[in-house]
Symmetry: C2
Subunit: 224 residues, 2 copies
């Protein structure tokens, strides 16, 4: 049995990890298949293989969950993905909607020293360009302490910390509105019939839909 994991195996572990975050219990075969754009039968095969390697717990028809070992590997791949995203945006002039596909390739490069040195070079960033936390060397992830913009009341002040939906189209839409990480937003009022918000961003007033406010992580400013 090969100890070195293939890119495919790493991608399955990553998918199971992210699905585990929202699913309370075991992750279903179909959910993995959809996420990885493959067929359920392929997932069954791979899941058996990962179970043989003690990276997931699996009982037929009951879904899968990561073992400690499998989780560790998934998190380390995510760490690499997010570090490379920071590099691409900070040093290579990429925008936040362009980095995902490239980071998907870079995350599989194997070298512990490379990850360590990249982290140092980037000055130990804590979040990637989408506001997602970067796991530390031991695989610990900072808890999302932020809150959804949609959960705040009219009158609140907040700062944008991240996005829930990192799709290209959403990110480009935010660019168009001038919303980026660190932007300060004041909620002027909330429409009752569609939950859209009228907000103040810098010196501009604009209206953003519920769809948007549901996908923006913000930190509420304390009113002191």
């Amino acid at each position: 049995m090969n100890l070195e994991l293939s890119q495919t195996e790493e991608n399955y572990l990553k998918a199971i990890f992210t699905l585990s975050l929202t699913a309370s219990k075991a992750v279903s075969t179909n959910a993995i298949a959809e996420k990885l754009e493959t067929k359920a039968s392929s997932v069954t095969d791979m899941v058996k293989k990962l179970a043989d390697k003690k990276l997931v717990d699996y009982k037929k028809y009951q879904g899968v969950s990561l073992t400690e070992n499998g989780k560790g590997i998934a998190v380390r791949v995510i760490r690499k993905h997010r570090l490379w995203e920071v590099f691409l945006v900070k040093h290579l002039d990429f925008s936040w909607d362009e980095v995902h596909e490239i980071a998907e390739q870079l995350e599989h490069v194997k070298s512990i020293k490379l990850t360590k040195e990249l982290d140092r070079f980037l000055e130990y960033p804590t979040h990637d360009p989408h506001g997602d936390p970067i796991p530390d060397e031991n695989g610990n992830i900072a808890h999302h302490t932020d809150v959804m913009l949609s959960s705040l009341q009219a009158g609140s002040n907040c700062v944008v910390l991240g996005v829930k939906d990192s799709s290209k189209s959403f990110l480009k839409y935010l660019d168009g509105l001038g919303i980026k990480l660190g932007s300060s937003i004041k909620i002027i009022n909330i429409e009752v019939f569609d939950n859209s918000m009228k907000i103040e961003l810098g010196d501009r007033i604009m209206s953003i839909s519920h769809q948007i406010t549901k996908n923006l992580f913000v930190k509420k400013e304390l009113e002191c």
Copy 2:
């Protein structure tokens, strides 16, 4: 037929390219097998596939050579390999004997913008950490105008520009002697019986074997 090349296919093209530089005519199946540490039968299979894709010219039993197209791809992979090596040494504190394996992985990452931006970030380097020239965006490679240290006469002054053998062991040996790219060397004399050289390096005098002098590219200083 898949236009996107696999990493394996790229590695075959690269191997054929570098073998072509020393072999005057077509490259033999066995030479490729040895270089890639695989079997001749595997090479035959792959070469047929590359011929179908019009990346190599191949006639049974007569060896292979790259088409213009195949050469272009090989050179672009080499360009990426060498740019990444510069990044690793210049910004991530790697030494010249550590970068090859990692660059072997990074060279297959697909993104034209990535290569372009990396080149800009590195300030358009012309040579990698071993002194090998970096092909430009159009795939043109600067000719090796340098000469082998072993070809110079006693009394000559020269500057080290590159190494022919980039093996870890050779590079570490050079580190031990204090020889690096840019080092100035004066040849004091050459032993007749074994072609070893007594040289002056900085304020030290040392003797280096023919094996070493045959593997160091240098630029001869003009005596004016």
